[in-house]
Symmetry: C2
Subunit: 241 residues, 2 copies
């Protein structure tokens, strides 16, 4: 708690900066908008029992085989060799994913998740579940770190924009004394009228658009399409009750 008697709300723009934050005394929101955390909430929203995030393709294959889960993950925009599904939220409709376990390998998001393992609680956030994330954070009355997964440690626009959107929604409940939070919120305020157009400048947009994934990007930037809260417990993400 800070002097104002409100909990703090901070934004960490890259996993390489997480060591500067007091993770142990905070809730950490893992943000990997394109597309890991958007796909995670979508799968859970559509009835997946749990999502197990893993770092490597090998781990994904082994765990998937052991528990009979759906193995998913991409490298360079294609389904990784040995896996069966990709990173797109559209691959996980209810008729496919309900009652199943998704074993998902991502690079940036999973790395950050493991770095944040000592947090009070880890949840994942993205535009499709922004309201669930904000409601949860306001209710907890604890310090919050919005952790951007970034791209190989480089700050990216989409995760920063989502962090800024959260700051703009919930800041009155928190003490915001963090320049990254102020910068992220300003960026979001500037972009909010047309986030999709703004994103066209971003490096990740160009990568994904080259793979024909504009529809994915649009979904991943739209609020509340899959409004559940993924909570990390015992190595897996489950939808909060």
């Amino acid at each position: 708690m800070t002097e104002s008697n409100k909990p703090s709300l901070e934004v960490c723009l890259s996993p390489a900066l997480l060591n500067l934050f007091d993770v142990k005394n905070s809730i950490v929101v893992i943000i990997d908008v394109l597309r890991a955390t958007s796909t995670i909430c979508t799968a859970l929203y559509n009835g997946a029992t749990r999502v197990i995030p893993v770092s490597s393709v090998e781990e994904c294959v082994n765990i998937g085989r052991a528990i009979g889960g759906i193995t998913a993950g991409e490298r360079d925009g294609k389904i990784a060799e040995g896996l069966v599904h990709g990173n797109s939220p559209f691959e996980y409709p209810r008729e496919f994913v309900e009652g199943k376990t998704l074993v998902l390998t991502t690079t940036n998001g999973t790395k950050l998740l493991h770095m944040a393992k000592d947090a009070v609680q880890i949840v994942t956030g993205s535009f499709p579940n922004i309201s669930a994330v904000c409601d949860y954070l306001v209710a907890q009355q604890q310090n919050v770190i919005l952790g951007c997964a970034a791209w190989k440690d480089r700050v990216n626009i989409e995760d920063t924009l989502f962090a800024g959107a959260v700051v703009s929604r919930i800041r009155q409940h928190f003490d915001v004394n963090c320049d990254s939070a102020i910068a992220a919120e300003s960026l979001y305020q500037m972009a909010r009228e047309d986030i999709y157009s703004f994103m066209k400048q971003a490096s990740h947009y160009k990568r994904l658009a080259n793979y024909g994934l504009e529809k994915d990007i649009e979904y991943c930037l739209t609020p509340d399409g899959a409004n559940v809260l993924p909570v990390f417990r015992n190595g897996e993400l489950v939808a909060a009750e």
Copy 2:
């Protein structure tokens, strides 16, 4: 050089991220707006022969004694024990500094400078010398990294704003494929009408305002008050011819 045949222009928001950039093939601009790089260009503009940036107070005292230089530096907003002057640009008018050597100890800026030592060239930038910096960068036709000194590795608003101001001025001469550069430029575009008011949200503003340094802040955010280009050579900063 990139595919567009223009050199690249990137922004590094914190020294902790500098390892992600190709320093060896770039000009690095060291940015420590409040107040190290503003004071450096001011001292050189007012006729100082050179500025020697050092990390520690001890080093500052020893070098200052050895060469008969002005020793300067602050810790927590006060002149550091053993030194004679502070970090304020207003302490270095022509009648005081002309023909002299300033030995300046700063923490964030000096750290970044040493990290960037393998760069093609190191120069320092801040609003008081923004035009000199931009003219130089456009003329060189080389890759550029705008390196924010930040605050103990945490991203800060003032250095990000300056980086964004440079991007907005010179981007047509460069290939800008860097989300941090796009975010910094957007932040600057949002703040440009009244940078001083925007800065009132920043954590560093609050620290300095507590010490009564609003006048310093205003000077440090105003373009071209001391329009020379400090270039780093053999351990010291001198004004470019």
